[in-house]
């Protein structure tokens, strides 16, 4: 991190499970949501009831890495992103999507969505339901109708 003689402005982010993180404002505002709160309301302690501590810690790690001013295409950043999102647990990725969406961090949202999309590709319908724990709310007739509508996709 670069050092300057100026004091860096800090903010405190509080997760849904009451964990507090002290972060430089310049890093925190990677999140458009936090940026708007600071600009509109000027809070120094920002409650984030929709993000738990574990996920918030990871998001802060991401924002810190991506605000160092280095190019998003650099090898260093790419390597970081690969390892950062390298989770076998769908739950972790889901929590990240929800957090990135709520905090409005576009680049993180895009990357996590792409990661989840990579899992979905080539998965059968049953596999998608099992992995993402989605309940099938179609009747057999409804399901058949939709399948027939997109017969080419099920070949």
């Amino acid at each position: 991190m670069s050092t300057t003689s100026q004091e860096k402005k800090l903010v405190t982010l509080k997760s849904s499970d009451k964990e507090e993180f002290v972060v430089e404002e310049s890093i925190a505002v990677t999140s458009e949501t936090i940026k708007n709160i600071i600009e509109d309301v000027g809070l120094e302690l920002i409650p984030l009831p929709n993000v738990d501590g574990k996920t918030l810690a990871k998001v802060i790690e991401y924002c810190t890495k991506h605000s160092t001013g280095s190019n998003d295409d650099s090898e260093d950043i790419k390597k970081f992103d690969d390892e950062f999102l390298n989770s076998n647990q769908i739950q972790v990725l889901f929590d990240m999507v929800l957090a990135a969406n709520y905090l409005n961090i576009k680049s993180l949202l895009e990357k996590v969505c792409t990661k989840i999309a990579d899992r979905i590709k080539d998965m059968s319908v049953e596999e998608v339901r099992e992995v993402f724990k989605i309940e099938n709310d179609f009747t057999p007739e409804e399901e058949k109708k939709i399948r027939d509508e997109h017969a080419w996709a099920h070949e």
Binding site: L98, C113, K121, V125, F132, K133, I134, H150, W152, A153
Partner: protein, 274 residues
């Protein structure tokens, strides 16, 4: 884990990072996923950014009530540019595909009815196809500008033909095929063997997909059957990096002094090569 906590926009975004095929397949997972999979937000991403311009060039107007419907319609072959070409979006990759009609190609002597004749065939989507009566100099060439195609894509160029029963002289010598873009050249040779029980040394019908063989730098191509009843010959391939360049695609048999005839040319197709 509560999947339904995810806002529909997020689900749509995730699906838009897959492919049209995966997105349509996901419609059967649950009603919520189906709604996200049908959203305009998602299909906007699959639709090419210049689709209004493409629609304006179609011969017949296309009506659509949703972006998904528009995508599915554009993924069927449609006449474009006054009927000289056919356009479609490849469903798996969302990339542009074109077929140049025989009229859009450069075929020496094609205007002379002693050598080539133009006729309508029910099996062709174009108004006319070209049938070779007889020539010594057989050359069929097409050009296209890469700006019409999708960037960052490898394309294959295929000559679409048929061989009526009266075909002759085409297999005496191998024809040369090539694709040239700037410095890049992809080339091969092919024996224009007609179907109809002619066996190769391996004892199989020559139009079976035997795969191409590499013969000293120049690949020997084979004729492949298509689903629409035509045959195709790969002329070559190239990578479109997005810069604007002319692509030249050609088949020729100009070394043999003998007469050849009977090949029917529908056009040259360009489609993404996986």
């Amino acid at each position: 884990m509560k999947f339904d906590l995810l806002p529909q926009d997020c689900v749509s975004y995730i699906l838009s990072c897959t492919s049209p095929r995966d997105a349509c397949r996901s419609s059967t997972v649950s009603s919520e996923v189906r709604d996200a999979a049908d959203s305009n937000l998602m299909w906007e991403k699959f639709l090419l950014s210049d689709y209004p311009e493409i629609i304006s060039r179609l011969v017949s107007p296309v009506e659509f009530k949703s972006k998904k419907e528009l995508f599915l319609k554009l993924s069927t072959p449609l006449l474009i540019d006054g009927g000289k070409k056919i356009f479609s979006i490849d469903k798996s990759t969302s990339k542009k595909c074109y077929m140049l009609s025989a009229r859009d190609l450069y075929i020496p002597w094609a205007t002379n009815s002693l050598y080539w004749c133009w006729k309508s065939l029910l099996e062709s989507r174009f108004v006319e196809v070209a049938e070779l009566i007889m020539v010594c100099w057989l050359e069929i060439q097409g050009t296209i500008n890469t700006k019409m195609l999708s960037p960052n894509t490898t394309y294959g160029a295929y000559l679409i033909v048929k061989f009526p029963d009266r075909a002759f002289g085409l297999e005496t010598l191998p024809s040369e095929v090539f694709v040239e873009v700037g410095e890049h050249r992809s080339q091969g040779t092919i024996y224009l063997r007609c179907n109809g029980g002619i066996k190769t040394e391996l004892g199989r019908d020559s139009v079976d997909t035997l795969g191409s063989r590499d013969i000293g730098g120049s690949v020997e191509r084979v004729i492949e059957k298509r689903e629409d009843g035509w045959l195709e010959i790969e002329l070559g391939d190239f990578y479109n990096d997005g810069s604007e360049r002319e692509v030249k695609m050609s088949l020729r048999e100009v070394k043999g002094q003998h007469l050849k005839g009977g090949i029917v040319v529908e056009g040259i197709e360009l489609r993404p090569k996986l």
